[in-house]
Symmetry: D2
């Protein structure tokens, strides 16, 4: 249930209502949209609970049901698309976020060089892995804290925000100290302990879709974060696993309009993991913006073939620069601004 | 093997070479690209056949291997993208083909009304089903021959080409009498008897990708048509079956750059079947052109909600018209011309 | 709707009722189970049709709705499992049908040798392909009519029934002349023209599940055959396409109990195509009988490694013989008789 | 590389060889099979490393390559199937492990009642969830520590081993204090931090296959545990996600023979999650043992319909008892002993 609060209700009245809900053991979350308040009752109550009674409260304008199992992530809870503010920068609101950088942070030099190159071409967020989820325990597992330190400096120097993956509840504090956006990888999309605890940091969370996650699963995972009170979740489609093996994954571009219909959260696309094929990265980035995506996340390396990981799907700074130019043109046709 | 023939070779020398190949029981197909001839040896020979001997023929410039199981469909057989000419109109060559019309031909009035509306908005090919492949035997199976007659008249009147599905070898001649392009549906993509016999009509064939067909399967199905000597095959991605059930299918936009890399054949996208969701049709059409597609196939109905079949994925003439305008803008950014 | 007819109703009364239904344009099929008649109304009627009126007919005991989109294939239409009689032999009724033989009929000698070997080990039906659905047009396409003639003789000599695939409506009569059971291959499961026309032969039809067919699709395909009035459909699970590539397909053993719950039709398993791995064939045949299958279809070749097609999944006569012995033991535990 | 050590080599010589490998920065693990030692070099070295030099060491009999990316989990590393000893009980070695119990531990009474019932019917391991990975944050999340205490007592009283899931690195010590086998759930199969840290407990680990994990992914996840030096990994197939929606998952029975071919680790089957359908649980358990599984994990509840979670796939004690009797019969046919 969503309780829509009347305009100009004083804070005291809302507090009283919330106290009443708590006393009834109804778990609830207060949200605000354009100066109007909503209270989402996300849990508690049973078949005997009379939810209609709430319409009798003087400050309640309307009582609305949730039509989906996900609640805070749903359009019912928030009609307008979410806009996320990070250190004065904006994600959403028809601005196209471009997250670019190497798959792994390999060295101080490499991350600084890449940051400078992608910033120049128009990226606004630096990506790079310090803790790497590798299918094999024998592959490069990332530089850890040292990598994060290099990245923080490189982002700062080039006036970029930064995003990096956290894989373990024990590392959350560490990663949160160095980066602006915490990434949850596809393989951890249903690591529910991790979701709950990254939510509590209050930091923006980039949540990648699991390899075989339905839209419902994906939004329920977002719900785990949202229900900690952290509204800053960015959904990232990065390809699903299908029978096709020529491409690494099947990038589900239709997730953009569909997730936008189901949810108010911003949706970005990762064409690098989504295809695993360098040549397919620009066309899929073009498809993403054309279909209305809020941004992309791309692997760029000064010398792609020498990349420690994911070399086949990594593009060069020159390709990235050319791609940004085309994105700007397509953006104009669909009213999305690319920096 | 591909035998690249020297420039300016006289026809007689080529004929002699082909006669020799036949005598060796090597099945071969002669193709021409920009005035240069190639002979593709598609079958025959074994481990003992000395293919290198052909380089000794005076008219043979080079002997190249096929790197894929599909041969005539491959980039090795033809470097430049195929351009298909149909009654003075062109598919390929950076012109965006727009096939639009109802799922089923329901009445004379309906197909005439739709044809006029889509022609006005910029479509160049009229689509409509006369023989419908329905999952249930109890659903509308199409108007058959009468439907084809209505369609032929409607296309002619509005200066449109036409495309319709053929489901049975026994109907090929009938359908070929009335339409310009024969469509093979997704469920018949590996109906090999049908593929061989539609090929022999010499008509352009629109081949839809099967619900669980890999790129390899898809191109091998095209190969069945090509090896009848009919070079006019148009590939159509229409969504694959995955675990996701909210959308009818998962539309594989990455198939565009990947099939273009593997093959010279044109690739079009069907966002109607590809998503099954009306609201997702325009964004996916935008994604298609942005990713470099050679065209789209869209279900349009004067009154979508009253459509006999596929109502949920059918758009209105107004939506179609608006969509065409955006497609023209995006087309400019990626150098594809929309009429 | 199903009209359950009262016991001991005279034929005349049933005929009258059917005439009335026809006059109302309600497509119907008369079925018989243990001496009791049912009339299934499979098509026709609309929101205004008063189906309840039929309960007023003196010979109608009960009017039941269909709970599934498939009707004649459903448990609602027939409570007891179907038993199929073919030339004095039985499929169903807790007898385990064993269809064995080569993938392709390669020569007279090969099919005779294989027939003798599998008959000796306890098979009761000879399988073998004369028309082969090959992914590539350049692979062996089968011996056609000659192959069917060889097979007919080999089956007769060894007192076996025979089964072979038909791929084209134009070949139905030919294949039906030589074999006892007509097979529809996985790639043609939704070739609706073919389904309708094989049904009309009245011959038992072995229908293979499509690579990405849901249970619903599968039973709707069976419905296409059943609604021609041919009740003799055998369902064959042969593996579905998933992301796993080590095995050729993922064999869905759970299809056995589930299809038995949804439908009265017999269900057999093809562990050869289902896995594509020779070593996995016996364990999966054991799993099939343990889960209650009505039979198996297995590829056996006198010299598996020399098989023209599917060599990797073909077992030797010795492996087949050993496997039959274990099947007999497991059969005892689950009350299924293996010859 | 695997260094096969000569019989009767003294410990000192092996230690020297290991010291040498460490000095060369070659990560290695010493294993023992039937009194023979092997050293698996699992990491380190590059194109310039001369692995052949090791054959010159007096104690090295043979140097073998790994043929798969997984090493310690492979048949190359260990020819005989692993047998796991837990407090005097055995998993593997043709003994059929039966893990049974409720999805969630709901109360002291419920777990005691279930434990007594399943023990009487022949189960040897009690299952039950204290930390539940639920798709929705609003569903029952488990009793946590209290649940584990109830379970420990119930298992002890009924002379059963116990298994329960751990979801977070921070809970490992807690769960390990109360249960005999630590379970890693399907959604955490690639939670690499968790895999590494459960491995270090030395406890037996039941690793569930991820919803879209290939055999390769699955065995690489096992490898993460094995390379901590913990050899006690039990693989559990629990259904994969496919396009089919009637069943909760598609249970991949062929995983049994295939994983047994690729790896020496025991393989058990979970027919409850694997189908999500109560009626399909016994047939799939029969299929599992027939195909050679080392055990099953089944959800049993005194009153299945009142189960807090997974009610639809939970069987009653009576069904469980009947099922055990059939399993014993099938076990005899395939030489697997059921208690």
């Amino acid at each position: 249930m969503i309780l829509v609060i009347k305009e100009n209700t004083v804070k005291n009245d809302i507090d009283e209502l919330i106290a009443k809900l708590r006393w009834m053991k109804l778990e609830n979350i207060l949200t605000e949209e354009n100066g109007r308040y909503h209270i989402a009752i996300v849990n508690g109550g049973d078949a005997n609970t009379d939810f209609k009674q709430f319409s009798l409260f003087p400050c309640v304008e309307q009582v609305l049901p949730f039509t989906q199992k996900f609640k805070l992530a749903s359009r019912a809870a928030k009609k307008q698309r979410s806009v996320i503010q990070i250190n004065g920068r904006t994600i959403g609101n028809n601005l196209f976020a471009v997250m670019a950088g190497p798959c792994s942070i390999e060295s101080e030099e490499q991350i600084h060089e890449t940051a400078a190159l992608v910033a120049k071409a128009g990226a606004n967020i630096l990506r790079g892995g310090a803790f790497k989820p590798r299918t094999s325990p024998y592959e490069f597992q990332g530089l850890g804290k040292t990598g994060l330190q290099y990245m923080q400096a490189a982002a700062k120097k080039n006036n970029l925000l930064s995003v990096s993956e956290v894989m373990d509840t024990q590392d959350i504090e560490l990663v949160a100290n160095y980066v602006d956006i915490l990434q949850i990888g596809a393989r951890n999309m249903q690591n529910f302990s991790l979701l709950k605890q990254v939510g509590k940091t209050g930091k923006p969370i980039l949540l990648k879709r699991g390899l075989s996650a339905t839209y419902m699963d994906f939004l329920m995972a977002a719900e785990y974060i949202l229900q900690t009170g952290n509204p800053n979740v960015i959904l990232c489609e990065r390809g699903i696993r299908t029978f096709e093996t020529y491409a690494r994954n099947t990038l589900d571009i239709a997730a953009i309009p569909i997730l936008h219909e189901l949810s108010h959260l911003p949706v970005i696309i990762d064409p690098s993991h989504g295809t695993g094929i360098r040549e397919a990265v620009p066309p899929m980035a073009y498809a993403a913006i054309a279909a209305g995506a809020d941004g992309i996340m791309v692997e760029v390396h000064p010398d792609p073939d020498k990349s420690y990981s994911d070399a086949k799907q990594t593009i060069s700074p020159q390709t990235f620069t050319d791609m940004m130019n085309v994105l700007r043109q397509i953006g104009k046709a669909v009213n999305i601004h690319v920096q």
